[in-house]
């Protein structure tokens, strides 16, 4: 058996490694993504003050500080048996929309977009944000920078530092908004709505009007018929900050809907010996290996998972786009991994519209932003991180210190699906052992769509982008090695 190793994955850093196993003919037999998982969180958390968790967990990941901050805060609401005042919930949600605005903008224009805008076969040196600017124009580049910064600014006004929020407290938030701040946010949000509309139009012009790309989106290697998961409001519309966890099947029919407090009755985390990453699956379907279909409990989260798990968006423009999405891609569910990118832009539009509703809500300047906490106990909290459902679970002792902690992060929820997407893409693209950079990028595209975050908040500065490709023969002896910057 031949093994091809792509190590680490370009652009998706964090020491990821893809191993592709070929059969005797040089076709793909199987593929595995190996990524480092941060370990020892439960032990680290034990004995710490519960109210420190929103700050501590916002440092777990340099990518999703806001999502961890509020998943922790909401778990503490539950653990201290307190329901925050409605104004506090609105302030949290508004801040959350700021996070979505900068996060989704960054992904589309900097990380996922280059594959489409510049083209999947373009040389790696061009397949980046600079390539996007070259193709789309400097003026667009300025708009991208401006609106990403607006998202950050909105988050910072509400939460302190954008990259390290400090506002969430059990029972509410520490800081409200004054009229000046409302005016400032309102102005930014208006501009963000136009930017989101523009981004969808760009996607339309560059991707949807190009038959090659649409065919690529709908092509077999990028299809995965899993279950889908996401938070929904009482009308089953997608929600990022709160609601029930809804799971739909491969045809978009509701499979199960539950409160986060029942997550462990519905989700099981499977352990495999070759990686520290766990593979969650639906308990009432069961684990059936790395397979899709009705009999496999693997599900997807993130933009595509959320859209599939809902029945629409709660704001008018985003809902219109939602309908167009399903009309264009052949109805529910959309199971194409590359459709994540379009779904992400629809969510960007929703986040901007929802931010406008919240900033125009007279209650947003209310001074009643915190309720007194009750006795410490046990609590679970859930939010939709930009890349998927995120669950925090804490058990406190009588003094309010952490006794037990468990987290299920978004990328972990997607880990089974990411593995399969890589395998399927590799199967469709690598034939008879023929591999070149363009082909490898197609495999990378399969998982880049998920916008995975490899629990890796480290910030190292190595002297170049390391890339290693190892090819082994059938006796697992290395016969070819390609590397750069190592």
């Amino acid at each position: 058996m031949k093994t091809i190793t792509i190590d680490p994955i370009t652009r998706l850093e964090g020491h990821g490694k893809i191993n592709i196993f070929l059969d005797g003919k040089g076709d793909v037999d199987n593929a595995y993504l190996q990524i480092p998982e941060l370990r020892g969180f439960e032990r680290f958390a034990q004995g710490r003050r519960a109210e420190d968790m929103p700050q501590i967990t916002s440092r777990i990941c340099g990518v999703c500080p806001v999502a961890h901050h509020f998943a922790a805060t909401k778990a503490l609401d539950a653990a201290f048996n307190v329901d925050p005042p409605s104004a506090a919930k609105k302030l949290r949600e508004l801040m959350y929309m700021g996070y979505y605005i900068y996060d989704h903008t960054l992904h589309f224009y900097y990380l996922g977009g280059p594959d489409f805008v510049v083209g999947p076969d373009a040389p790696p040196a061009k397949r980046n944000v600079l390539g996007v600017i070259e193709k789309a124009g400097v003026e667009i580049g300025k708009e991208v920078i401006k609106h990403r910064a607006y998202g950050q600014k909105i988050t910072a006004i509400l939460g302190g530092k954008a990259t390290h929020p400090v506002c969430g407290l059990p029972g509410g938030v520490s800081k409200g908004l004054n009229k000046e701040e409302v005016k400032e946010i309102d102005k930014m949000v208006k501009s963000c709505i136009d930017f989101a509309k523009f981004s969808l139009k760009l996607f339309d012009d560059i991707v949807l009007k190009n038959k090659t790309y649409v065919d690529l989106i709908l092509s077999d290697p990028y299809q995965l018929n899993t279950y889908n998961m996401g938070l929904v409001d009482k009308n089953n519309k997608a929600n990022f900050y709160d609601g029930k966890i809804r799971v739909t099947d491969q045809k978009g029919k509701e499979h199960v809907k539950f409160d986060v407090k029942d997550y462990y009755k519905n989700i099981v985390e499977r352990v495999e010996e070759w990686t520290y990453i766990k593979f969650p699956y639906l308990k009432n379907v069961g684990w059936n290996g790395f397979k899709d279909g009705k009999d496999s409990g693997i599900y997807r989260v993130g933009p595509l998972g959320r859209l599939n798990a809902a029945e629409g968006m709660a704001t008018p423009l985003a809902d219109k786009e939602y309908k167009r999405f399903y009309e264009t891609l052949g109805g529910k569910s959309v199971n194409s991994t590359l459709a994540f990118h379009w779904a992400r832009l629809i969510e960007l539009l929703y986040a901007t519209e929802r931010a406008q509703e919240l900033i125009n809500d007279p209650e947003i300047t209310s001074e009643k932003i915190r309720n007194p906490v009750g006795e410490p106990g046990e609590g679970m909290g859930v939010t939709e991180a930009a890349r998927g459902t995120l669950i925090h679970h804490y058990k406190l002792d009588k003094k309010g210190l952490i006794d037990k902690a468990n987290l299920i992060v978004a990328t972990t929820n997607n880990s089974g699906a990411i593995n399969m997407s890589i395998r399927n893409a590799a199967k469709g693209i690598i034939k008879k052992g023929k591999v070149n950079d363009g082909l490898l990028n197609m495999v990378e595209m399969a998982f880049r769509a998920y916008d995975p975050c490899f629990a890796c908040a480290t910030h190292t500065l190595p002297g170049g982008m390391p890339l290693e490709v190892n090819i082994y023969d059938s006796e697992k002896k290395l016969f070819k090695k390609l590397r750069q910057n190592l």
């Binding site: 440092r59 340099g62 580049g141 990259t163 390290h164 480290t458 910030h459 190292t460 500065l461 170049g464």
Partner: protein, 158 residues
Amino acid sequence: MRTIILGVGNQILGDDGVGIHIANELKKKINNPNITIDDAITGGMNLLDLLLGYDKAIIVDAVKTNEGENGEVKRIPLGAFSTMHSCNPHDVSLIEAIEMAKKMGEDRIPKEIIIIGVLMKEIPCEFGEKLSKEIAAAVPKAVDMTLKEIKKDLKISS
């Protein structure tokens, strides 16, 4: 001349947080209105945002490399990196961020960006607040090197 010293890293991830430990030590030793000392658990675009408006930036961070000794401290000009990146799957590298900002006409990018790097073979994957022995020993060395870097500038400007 305005200088920012930025300790970068994650202080709940053991040795990865060495840059923050160094920044904390520097805060005790430097008291100059033209020098800002801050820390950041971020990379790429966000890192650039923090540097804008200063004449010079000194980034203190862990550097994962197979070269050199574990805990060795090196002064590295930013230009020496062909593609530098923070280990963050959801961002671009600082160099990419700078190139893009320049293209957009950004004129507040520091003229000089220096890395004070603590070399390490492995970045820890286990939560913890303590530095390992070898990396802890690098902290005073990195502090000295940063102080030297600043003194050099002070001489030039006076």
